[in-house]
């Protein structure tokens, strides 16, 4: 934790590029919206196990 910068998350998206994309996660529009999907708020099926 820095004096001037508080970093909330240190996960880097580029580490999720290779070997991922299993496609087991929920389809975005199925969860609630049906009109205004937001992929970023979906859950990774692998991570949630």
């Amino acid at each position: 934790m820095g004096k001037h910068i508080q970093t909330v998350n240190k996960v880097s998206l580029n580490t999720t590029l290779k070997g991922r994309g299993c496609g087991e996660c929920q389809t975005s529009c199925q969860s609630a919206c049906k009109t205004s999907c937001t992929v970023g708020n979906q859950v990774c099926a692998r991570e949630s196990k």
């Binding site: 820095g2 004096k3 001037h4 910068i5 508080q6 970093t7 909330v8 998350n9 240190k10 996960v11 880097s12 998206l13 580029n14 999720t16 590029l17 991922r20 994309g21 496609g23 087991e24 996660c25 929920q26 389809t27 975005s28 529009c29 199925q30 969860s31 609630a32 919206c33 049906k34 009109t35 205004s36 999907c37 937001t38 992929v39 970023g40 708020n41 979906q42 859950v43 990774c44 099926a45 991570e47 949630s48």
Partner: protein, 450 residues
């Protein structure tokens, strides 16, 4: 690429390509403004006019460290281009059990449930063929999903019951996990239906707009008269029967209730905790359509709602507002963020006759018929077109800070606005960005109290 914004005096910085989120002070905000534009000596000299030199050195060192760690100014992991994997997997279906409805919602994008065609119910035979198609098209994917949609799907309850039984049987035979969701206006929720939904652990999306007057204005019965009283009662009774598990209550806001945070508050006051209130999908000529002039007010409203959500969380009585729900530590992988919602490729909609469409919002549009559940996908161009519509091919997305959260947005929304799925509706983009900024702000604010 960085995105910097201030909400409620909180300075937030998103490093777009890594997904890292930081809370910064005013000095660091200024450092980041010029970090890539001015040489180190010049930057020190410029900032030393406003801040103590020692402080500037410290802030610069912190920035340097995060740059080195790949958490600030990180490069685009894909170098600005993307080729989607070639496959023909369909893993999710939206089954239109009923092109008919027992309400006459004024903003219904489905034309009171009929999607521009005649009223009709899906037969059990067609529904079973759809599930066979799903099982046969889902390849090695273990998880498959079915959403029962309409119109009002509970107008076709017996077929719904039959399809859940049939889908579970198929899934067992194929060693797959099938997840069912029901999207309903709640009017036909009774004890028998509730028991069935609970016994089969089905997710439900229940439509309720919020305050009684707001709901009744847009969601009347076909003969007139508001539906709030009966529907809110049925929804509460049903949710009590399942201990308020596995649901979302979903409302729509329009130009008539741009103060929709009050509707969220109203829903929370009913004891509801899983809430999604979303902007209306409407042609711009409708009086209730959201327009450019609403943007400043909506921006304030989302910020107000974010603080309400924050206050409730701090008070130990949280609500989960769907569009503020972001997992910064996990969340979807980059391939998922690139592929977007999957409509037209992994996710298809089925009309009552078995016709296949890219998603529920395209149903009834002749040029988007992709085949049917009996003969499978006949149109091979449409799946490729939809899979090829991603953040590096949609207009304006590659340069947008929100690309890895919104993934190019709603294809149907883009098509309705511009005639092509490759050109998003800028109004939709603005609303998406407001919601995302609030979601990120909430993460920062919550992190600050831990």
């Amino acid at each position: 690429m960085l995105h910097k914004f201030i909400i409620n005096n909180t300075r937030v910085v998103l490093d777009v390509h890594s997904g890292a989120v930081h809370r910064v002070d005013r000095l660091t905000w200024d450092v980041l403004e010029d970090y890539r534009n001015i040489a180190r000596d010049g930057l020190l000299e410029k900032l030393a006019r406003r801040y103590p030199g020692q402080e500037v050195e410290e802030a610069l060192a912190e920035v340097d460290e995060l740059v080195e760690a790949g958490l600030l100014f990180s490069p685009d992991p894909l170098g600005g281009s993307y080729t989607p994997p070639a496959h023909n997997i369909v893993k999710a279906l939206c089954l239109h059990l009923a092109h008919d409805c027992n309400l006459a919602c004024r903003y219904c994008f489905a034309g009171q449930g009929k999607f521009g065609g005649p009223a009709g119910l899906m037969s059990l035979e067609t529904g079973k063929a759809a599930l066979d198609f799903l099982m046969n098209s889902s390849g090695g994917r273990r998880h498959v999903e079915v959403d029962f949609f309409g119109g009002e799907p509970l107008l076709n309850k017996r077929v719904l019951y039959g399809l859940v039984e049939y889908g579970n049987k198929l899934a067992g035979e194929r060693d797959k996990e099938i997840k069912f969701t029901l999207t309903t206006n709640g009017l036909l929720l009774d004890e028998e239906t509730g028991d069935f939904l609970n016994r089969h652990d089905m997710s439900v999306v229940l439509s309720l707009d919020g305050r009684p007057a707001v709901h009744d204005t847009m969601r009347p019965f076909p003969g007139g008269g508001g539906s709030y009283d009966i529907i809110s009662r049925k929804i509460i009774n049903f949710l009590e029967s399942r201990d308020y598990r596995n649901y979302y209550v979903r409302g729509t806001y329009t130009a008539n209730n741009t103060d929709f945070s009050r509707d969220v508050l109203h829903l929370a006051g009913l004891g509801l905790r899983e809430i999604s209130v979303e902007p209306v999908v409407a042609p711009p000529e409708e009086e209730y359509a959201l327009r450019e002039e609403h943007i400043p007010g909506l921006s304030r409203e989302y910020a107000l709602l974010a603080d309400m959500v924050l206050e409730r969380a701090r008070a130990g009585d949280p609500i989960n507002f769907f569009h503020f729900n972001i997992d910064l530590e996990g969340g979807p992988c980059l391939p998922k963020r690139l592929s977007g919602c999957g409509a037209g490729s992994e996710y298809l909609a089925v009309d009552p006759e078995g016709g296949l469409y890219p998603c529920h919002q395209f149903v009834g549009q002749e040029e988007y018929v992709m085949g049917d559940v009996y003969g499978g996908l006949v149109n091979k161009e449409l799946p490729a077109r939809f899979a090829g519509a991603h953040v590096y091919s949609k207009e304006g997305c590659a340069e947008c800070w929100a690309k890895f959260f919104c993934s190019g947005g709603c294809h149907a929304g883009a098509r309705a606005y511009s005639g092509t799925i490759l050109k998003p509706n800028p109004l939709g983009c603005r609303l998406m960005k407001m919601r995302l900024e609030c979601a990120l702000y909430l993460k920062v604010a919550m992190a600050g109290q831990q």
